[in-house]
Symmetry: C2
Subunit: 303 residues, 2 copies
């Protein structure tokens, strides 16, 4: 039975340089990619904040999609988060050219009262203290997943570990997992992170796919969807999380078989994001296309 | 219907240093790992050459296994191939400390007349000219696979490309595939290499698993078997090839469904090799253990 899904995360003005071109001042941010990805599976409750300078009309961006923007806050005296980055020739190594936290360095947005009964929740990457504050505004969620990054693991480990005791699932990159677990072997790292109080750990390995570890020792390994045209990998991780959480909320359950299928949906959803700059690749697809790639991924990986 | 399988490759005296210890003057070489791996699936015809200094009795090494050593040549005035290498902390980066080609720099061994009717053939990594000479001694093989390495791609590309027109399958590492195809995208690289005249290309990605491309556009992606204890990765690639070719020869066919299952067998067979130094991990297992891991790998990757 389908359940409500809420996301909190960034909205950004991105400038992305790849070997294929430059996309200046385009729409980005974790909550944007997540919401677009999750919207193929069911309604999304959006919580995020921008400054008065934000040039994007999110009502238009999400037109025709069931994304409830009641949690979008526009702060008149603040500036929108900005990020600029450059991808290397291998499309894997990324350098951050500049970052302006702006409104993200202020108080987090308020979760609307109408969203407080959300059952599936994704806390996109931000300072762990803010993730705690955002989560505290949700009454009794069924399944909460969070993302994080190197600097929080390094400097805010206490807040992060206390967050793990309140949530169900962590979705992180390979390097972050190794750093957090202080362990180079990824299978062992997954187990060490699980033991921090989680019931599911999802480790994203970029073009090498993903690994999921469950609390009862279950494991799942899935290659990335084979891509011959990678134009801009920005947002792939958040699109993966959006497909994953979107499918779980649609299914309304989180047994390991459902979690496996959700990983597969996350994988194929992200495969559309990387085919173009900003949201262009993802917004041009359909649930039917996503399902076709899911069937193909099954064929590509089964023996 | 089961078919004959022949391997030609090196026999080495290896010294391996890993973060877990040192194994001095142990038995190694591509044909050794390949034969041990393939012997779990059916008989193996062995072709290789050592010098008079070889301290290993291969009859003892392969005792109780159906490995026909009629193609083992001991050259009284030659010295055995020696290799020494060190693995980095991540167990992935490897430095060659020293290499003495010795007998491998001489004429290749002769394929015994009784082996000339072999149907499945694996030409392990050596100078492409020697691979041509070895292959010329097999009358009418059904399926020939070869391995190669960076220096041959760089300096003997003509010989290599003419070899591809005579064989069916190339099994190489990710870096070698990118170098050979002059293409960073691995899916595209696989297609470019196929177009050099092959019908199957297998690209090994170490702990990220493998990719197989077939001539009719078929593809197969498989993660590596999840390993928590990696003691020595030496021989993993040749064990993979041994499991792959061993299963194909046992099955006696090479349609894509059989090739996929062969990749899975190669993957799990190699997973035993890396658990200990030299042949210790591989020789301690059984076909029943290999089959158990195959079932587990299917469970770990299906959704």
């Amino acid at each position: 039975m389908s359940a409500s899904l809420l996301v909190t995360g960034s909205i950004g003005i991105d400038t992305v340089r790849t070997p294929f071109g430059v996309s200046e001042d385009c729409l980005g941010g974790s909550s944007i990619y997540f919401s677009m990805a999750a919207s193929f599976f069911g309604p999304v409750r959006f919580v995020g904040v921008v400054g008065a300078d934000c040039p994007f009309d999110l009502n238009k961006v999400f037109a025709g999609r069931d994304v409830d923007l009641a949690g979008l806050e526009i702060r008149p005296d603040s500036k929108t988060f900005r990020w600029a980055g450059t991808y290397a020739q291998n499309m894997d190594d990324r350098t951050t050219d500049s970052i302006e936290l702006n409104v993200l360095a202020e108080a987090p947005p308020t979760v609307p009262v109408a969203f407080a009964d959300s059952k599936f929740v994704f806390l996109a990457n931000t300072m762990p203290k803010l993730q705690h504050e955002l989560l505290a505004q949700i009454r009794r969620p069924t399944f909460v997943a969070a993302d994080t990054m190197r600097c929080w693991i390094q400097d805010h480990l206490g807040d992060l570990k206390s967050l793990f005791k309140k949530i169900d699932c962590l979705i992180i990159n390979e390097d972050e997992a190794k750093q957090l677990a202080e362990e180079q072997n990824l299978i062992k790292a997954g187990q060490i992170i699980l033991d921090m109080g989680l019931s599911v750990v999802v480790i994203k390995k970029g073009e090498s796919g993903s690994l999921m570890c469950g609390a009862d020792g279950e494991k799942f390994l899935l290659p990335a969807y084979p891509a011959t045209e990678v134009i801009d990998p920005t947002g792939a991780g958040d699109s993966f999380a959006g497909g994953f959480m979107g499918y779980l909320a649609q299914a309304g359950k989180t047994d390991f078989a459902t979690l496996k299928k959700a990983i597969a949906y996350g994988t194929v959803t992200a495969s559309f994001t990387i085919t173009d700059f900003s949201l262009n690749g993802l917004s041009a697809t359909s649930r039917a296309e996503i399902d076709r790639r899911l069937q193909n991924l099954r064929k590509l990986t089964s023996f």
